[in-house]
């Protein structure tokens, strides 16, 4: 058997499943978003689903909210993760515990984190009770709305809780494999601590941070259950809106749901572009 045949046969089952399920699902979604489905007699594709989605104010509000959630969560998580990795590089009392909790947190599903944040930050949650204990608020409604709120603060808090360990673990490993020689050289040449970080360490770890951030951005943009638990009813995050449209009693709304799914897919395609651009070297290495 030639090497080419061998490689082909080794890859065939996996590629078959991925192409049929993933790309098949994507393609069917794309076709239905254009109202095109010859099997059920829809033979003339049109843009009506896209027209009604793109002329709907709720869609824009939802898109902006989702972008805000994904962008803010990713930026805050990345910055805190770099800080946490810098901290974990040095020995201090409790480092073992932080390390363990970072890993523990990686295994806890987002849904559990979302419910935990709900119980902590809702207007009758743990922090509201603490505020009442110290007589900062007279009744639950005096507590600032941090969940079901228009700024999606609860959702962002949940993502920060979950993604700081994710990015942090990757950045820490990155730092450890780089060692500290580059920084020592910079320091011995008279660079301040800040200059060493800004001009030596940060550029070195940046590709790693960026490829992890891209994964986080795509996830936070497309996740359903977290905004479904912690988000406001209107505007809802885009995945929640797409799910609602899809399960609407009015079947005519389904192509609109598919069109929204395509918007999410398109945005993830952009993320894949960035991921490949910044992580190719990392994967190869």
């Amino acid at each position: 058997m030639s090497e080419r045949t061998k490689i082909f046969l080794l890859l065939l089952p996996a590629m078959f499943i991925i192409v049929v399920l993933f790309f098949g699902g994507l393609l069917i979604g794309l076709m239905r978003s254009f109202n095109y489905m010859p099997v059920i007699g829809l033979t003339e594709p049109n843009f009506s689903a896209y027209v009604s989605v793109f002329t709907d104010r709720e869609f824009y509000l939802s898109f902006l909210l989702t972008f805000h959630i994904a962008f803010t969560s990713t930026v805050i998580s990345s910055i805190l993760a770099i800080g946490a990795a810098l901290l974990l590089r040095r020995s201090f009392v409790g480092r073992g515990i932080v390390n363990f909790l970072f890993q523990l947190n990686l295994t806890v599903p987002h849904l559990v984190g979302a419910i935990g944040i709900l119980y902590l930050f809702s207007q009758s949650g743990s922090f509201a009770r603490l505020a009442a204990e110290f007589e900062l608020i007279a009744r639950p409604s005096d507590f600032p709305a941090l969940v079901f709120d228009p700024y999606a603060i609860g959702i962002i808090l949940q993502y920060v809780w979950k993604e700081v360990p994710f990015i942090g673990v990757i950045v820490l490993a990155n730092m450890q494999s780089l060692g500290e020689d580059y920084e020592s050289v910079a320091r011995s040449l008279g660079a301040t601590k800040w200059q060493t970080f800004r001009h030596v360490l940060l550029p070195l770890i940046f590709p790693g941070v960026l490829s992890a951030s891209v994964m986080v951005f795509a996830f936070t943009f497309g996740a359903y259950e977290i905004p479904a638990i912690l988000g406001a009813n209107f505007p809802a995050a885009l995945p929640v809106l797409a799910y609602r449209k899809y399960t609407d009693v009015d079947l005519a709304a389904r192509p609109e749901a598919m069109a929204m799914a395509m918007v999410i897919a398109l945005l993830s395609a952009v993320m894949i572009y960035f991921y490949v651009r910044y992580s190719r070297r990392r994967i190869r290495g």
């Binding site: 295994t107 806890v108 949940q158 799910y243």
Partner: protein, 275 residues
């Protein structure tokens, strides 16, 4: 003098931020744990006035369906993981050990399902599964779980095979071992640790799926996360707490088994973006 003072300052700063980080990391799990032992926990009580095992007794009872749902979730995740291993190991071997034309495209096709969120593809899959009779079935749910677990397994295995030396296989073959025997006695023992770690993490990836199960299972295939979500939105905080504790247990067990593999250096961590 000033040097020691500075280092003391820095050390206490590290200790304080470390303590803050520890508190923040544990915090969301605390109310869940407390709720599971609470018998009514009303505002503004900081702790429940009455404690009870009621939620746990309910969760463990035969009639509540939590145990059935636990077994169903385990079954779905185990089958999805085993299928991912069977299909993912050969593909990982091809990607890890060979250079070939079109390899970058294959890598891209495998990366895409890891980054594209489930909701973007599952709506299309659902409309096809209806005509195939796969919607509302456990088999249908297992199939869609392969979308996140299989690419993940392929990536982990390609990392394992990149550091694998095929010379031993050639030796076994030259000594007269059949391809099957060579695989069983030479290849498998060498890659077994990778399969175990990758498999455990693939299990967790399947374990944490929500929207794929909800849509394809149509609410009839009620895995643990669906049950958890329903109790949480119904305001049954005590039972939510108990199910939540049961739900995070496999992750903790797997963590204890594999802690040393969980550094960001192993490609295995990439999959945790999906959990």
């Amino acid at each position: 003098m000033s040097a020691t003072r500075e280092s003391f300052g820095i050390r206490s700063f590290r200790f304080l931020t470390g303590a803050l980080l520890i508190t923040w990391l544990v915090l969301p799990l605390v109310p869940l744990a407390i709720w599971s032992f609470a018998k009514g926990w009303f505002y503004p009580d900081l702790l429940p006035r009455n404690w009870s095992m009621r939620a746990w007794e309910y969760a463990m009872s035969d009639t509540a369906g939590v145990i059935d749902s636990l077994w169903l979730t385990i079954w779905i995740s185990v089958v999805a993981t085993v299928l991912s291993i069977i299909v993912g190991v050969p593909a990982g071997r091809a990607l890890g050990m060979y250079k070939f034309r079109g390899k970058e495209i294959v890598e891209l096709l495998i990366l895409a399902p890891i980054i594209v969120p489930g909701i973007a593809v599952v709506l299309g899959i659902h409309s096809v599964f209806i005509s195939l009779g796969l919607n509302n079935t456990v088999s249908g749910v297992i199939l869609v779980h392969l979308i996140p677990t299989l690419p993940y397994m392929v990536l982990v295995m390609s990392g394992i095979f990149a550091n694998y030396d095929p010379a031993f296989e050639a030796q076994a073959r030259s000594l007269g071992a059949s391809p099957l025997k060579t695989f069983w006695y030479v290849t498998l023992p060498a890659i077994r640790p990778g399969i175990i770690v990758g498999g455990l993490f693939a299990f967790l990836v399947s374990w944490s799926q929500y929207i794929l199960t909800l849509l394809i299972g149509g609410g009839r295939v009620e895995t643990l996360p669906l049950l958890l979500f329903n109790f949480a939105t119904a305001g049954r905080n005590d039972i939510t707490g108990a199910i939540g504790m049961i739900y995070i247990l496999p992750g903790i067990i797997i963590l204890l088994l594999t802690a040393k593999h969980l550094s960001g250096r192993s490609g295995a961590v990439g999959g945790f973006g999906q959990i």
